[in-house]
Amino acid sequence: MIAETGHFALILLMMLAFCQAILFSPLGIVFRRGSLGLRNTAHLQTAGGVSSLDTGGQHGFWHHFSSALLTPGAVRISPGASLSPMPLWPLPVLICLLALGAQASQIYSFVTSDFTLAMVAQYSHSSTPLMYRIAAAISPDCGATLLWVTLTSSAAILFLIQNAIFKKAENPQAIVSVMGLVVGLLAASVLIDGTPFARLAAPPLDGQGFDPQSQDILDLFYSPALYAGLSGLSVIFAATIAALPRAALHRAWAEMLRPWTLISWTLLGAAMAISAYRAYSQQSWGNWWYWDASENAVLLPWLLATAFLHCLAVLEKTEALKPWTALLALSAFGAGWFGTFLSRSDLLGPLPAALRSSGDNAVLLVGFCVLFAGAYYLFARVAGQLRENADFTLVSRESAMFINSVMLAVAAAIVLIGTVYPLFLRWLGGTIITVGPPFFVQALMPVTLAMLLLMGLSPTLRWRVDGAASVGRRMKLALILSIIVTLFVWMRHIDAPSLPLLGIGLAAWVVTAALGDLWEKLWRHRDHGESKYRNIQLLGPRYLGMSLAHIGMALLIAGGSASSIWEEQSVLSARTGQSIEIGPYNLQYEGVSLLPGENFATRKAKFIVYRNAQPVTELYPEVRYYPIRGVETKESAIWHGRDGDLHVSIGDRAEDSGRIVDVRFLPMMPWVWAGMLLILLGGIINVLTRMILLFKKNGVSAP
C-alpha cells in the first residue's frame, strides 16, 4: 500500500509540475484570463524590457506574440483587468512534499525489504545491510531519477527561499515555470521509463541483492552528490531561460546564480572524486580514471560548470561576455542531462533480453530534446540582442578568463566526441572502435597545458586593462621558479616523456604564481594600521577559494603526470613470509585468513610494510565473495605515504600454491587526492564563508 501511495504521489506530482510549468508561463496568463471569463486576451502588453528587442514593425504581431510567450514576467495585463499574479509558493511546495513522500515510500519499501516490488527484488536482499538497502533505493537507474526529481523540486524551494530573502530574481514566475517543466519531464521519465513502484505478479522469496561493486561507504554519497549537482544546474538553466528574452543577464542575475554555481560545481566535483577513488581502490591496476561513459557523464557538466563559473565572475564584475555565459549555462545542464541518458541507455552495452525491464529511457531522451531544442532556439533568437559594454582590452583578466572558458568548452567537446563518436560509428553499422584513455590523454593534454598556463596568469591580471610589460614584471619570479622546477625534474629523469613533464612544469607555474600573488596581496599591500590578519580577511572568500582550487588543480595534474611516468609495478606469486620490494617500501606477506563479513565472506591478506627496516603500517587487501550474487570483488589496500601511494591487491591462489599479489608504487599519487580535496575545499570555503558573512552582522563584507 505504501508503494502505491508513493506511485500515486509521483503521478500527481508529474501532473502538478506540468500545471506549474503552464500556469507560471505566459500561456498560463492567457489561460487564466480565459478561464476567468475575460474576453479579448490579445491586448497583452509587454513591459519595457522587451521593447528594446523590437527590431522592426513588419512582424510586429508575431514578435509580440512570441515575446509574450518567452517573457512571462514581462507580460503586463492591461489596466482594468483584475488578475492577481500567481502566488509563487503553494504549487512548488506541494510538489516538493509529494516528491519527498514518493521518495520516502520508495526508501521505506527497500528498508522493509518488500520483495513484491520488482525493483526491490532486483537490487536488494534481506541480508543486505540497512545502509546499502537505502543506497540500492537511490542508485539504480529509475531510483536515481526519482532522487533527481526529489532534489530538483527541493532546489526549486531553495530558490524560492533565496528569492524571498534577497529578491534578486526579476521574474521568479518564469524560473518557477521552467523548474516545473524540468521536474515534470523527469517525473514522466521515472513513471514511463521504469517505475520503481511496479509490483511483481509472482514475488520471489528473497531479492537478488545489492551490486557488490558498489557496496562501499564512499559510494553511498555518489548518487546524492551527482544529482544534487545536476539539480543546482537546473536552477541555473531555469534562471537563464527566464533572463534571456528580456536580455536581463546583468549583475543581479549573476549574484543570484553565484551560490548555485558554486554549490553545484562543488557537488559535481565531489561526485567525480568519489568515483575516481572508488575505481582506484577497487581495481587491481591502480587506475583512477577510465574515461568510460559514466565518468564522462559527470566530467562533461563539470567542465562546462567550471567555464560558467569563471564567465559568471566576469559578468558580475564587468557585465561582459553575456551570450557566451548564457550558452554555457544552458549547455552545462544539457550536458548533465545528456550524460545521464548516455550512461544508462543501452547504447553502451545492451542488457540481455531477460534483464531488459527498465525500458530504454525514451522519455529521458525525448525530454532532453524538447527542453534543449527550445532552450537553444530561444538562445539563437535573442543572443544577438544581448547588449554588453565590453570595454576590456586583449591583455586583461576578462580576456584571459574568456579564453580559458573557451578551452574548457573545447575540452568538453573533445570528451563528448570521444564518448559519442564510437556509438555513432557503431550505429552506422561500421567498424567497432574503442576510444580509450590514450585518445583522451593525447587530445586533452595540450588543452589542459594551455589552460594551466592561463590559470597561473589570469588571477594576477587586472580587470579591463593591463600592460604586457607589467604582467611580465610581476610574473618574472614565478616563471623562473617553474623553469627551475621543470629543469630539475628533467635532469633527474632525462628519459621522461615530454608531455607529463610539461604538466609538472606548468603545475609548478600555477602554484608559484598563486602563492606569489597571495604574498603580494598579503605583505606588499599596506596594512591599514592593523594586523596582517586583517589583510587575509580583506582578501575575501572568493579569492581564497579560487587560489585553493587553482593550487589543487595544479597538484592534481602534477601528481597524475608524475605517477603515470614513474609508476612501479610488480605482479608475483607470493608465499607466506615472503618479502616484496617496491619503491622505497618492503612488504612482508603474512598469509591470508578467511573471515566472515556482513553479507559476504572475505579472504583478507596481511602485509606488514617496512621502510628503511622500520615498520610503517599494515595493509589488508581483500577478496570478497558475495554469495547472493555469486560475485567476487577485490578491495585493494592503499597506504598514502609521503612520496607516493602503495597500492596492494591480491588475486586467486596461484598454481604453485602461492597467492597472486599485485603491488604498485605510484609516486606523487597523494598529490592527486590532495588536489581533489583542495578543489572541493575551495568550493566549500567559498560557499560557507559567504553564508557566514551574510548572517554575521558586523562581519567584513566580501570585496
Binding site: P350, A354, L355, I432, T434, Q442, L572, S573, D656
Partner: protein, 162 residues
Amino acid sequence: MSLSRAKSRKRQRLYLASLAVLAAAGAAALGLTAFRDSVVFFFSPTELAEQSPMSPDRRLRIGGLVEEGSLQKLADGKTVTFTVTDMQHDVQVAYTGILPDLFREGQGVVAEGHMNPKGQFVASEVLAKHDENYMPREVADALKKSGHWEEIEAQNAKNMRN
C-alpha cells in the same frame, strides 16, 4: 577620441574572438591527430582469423566468450591463459596479473593488447567493469555476427532463472 576608442575596442574584441577561434581550431586539430593515433579497433575472433597475421605493434581489442574449461594458470604463478571464442573461431589470450572481479568462464570478456608472432593474444588489460549479467556491447555484436547470439542469450536467461 571616443570614436577611435570605440574602434580600438572593436579591434581588440576581434583579436580576442580570433584568438578564441584559433585556440578552438588548434585543439580540434590536436584532437583529430589523437584520434588517428590512438583509436583502438575491436576484432571478434573471426575477424582476427581473417586478418591474420596481425602486426605485433598494433594495439587492438578482442572480445567474445571465455570458453568453458579453457582457463589455465601457468607455472610461474602469475600468468593465466584462456580461450576467447565467438563459436566459430578461437583465439588464445595470455594475461599476467589479477583478473577482474567479473571474469568467468562462459561469460563475455573484452581484452586489450596485441598479437604475438605465435598467434597468441597478449593482453595488457582484461576489461570486465560491468554488471555480472551484462554482455559487453562489442561481444554481443560479435556473437550476433557469428550467428550464435540467440542460443547464448537463451542460456543466460536460463541461468538467471536458476
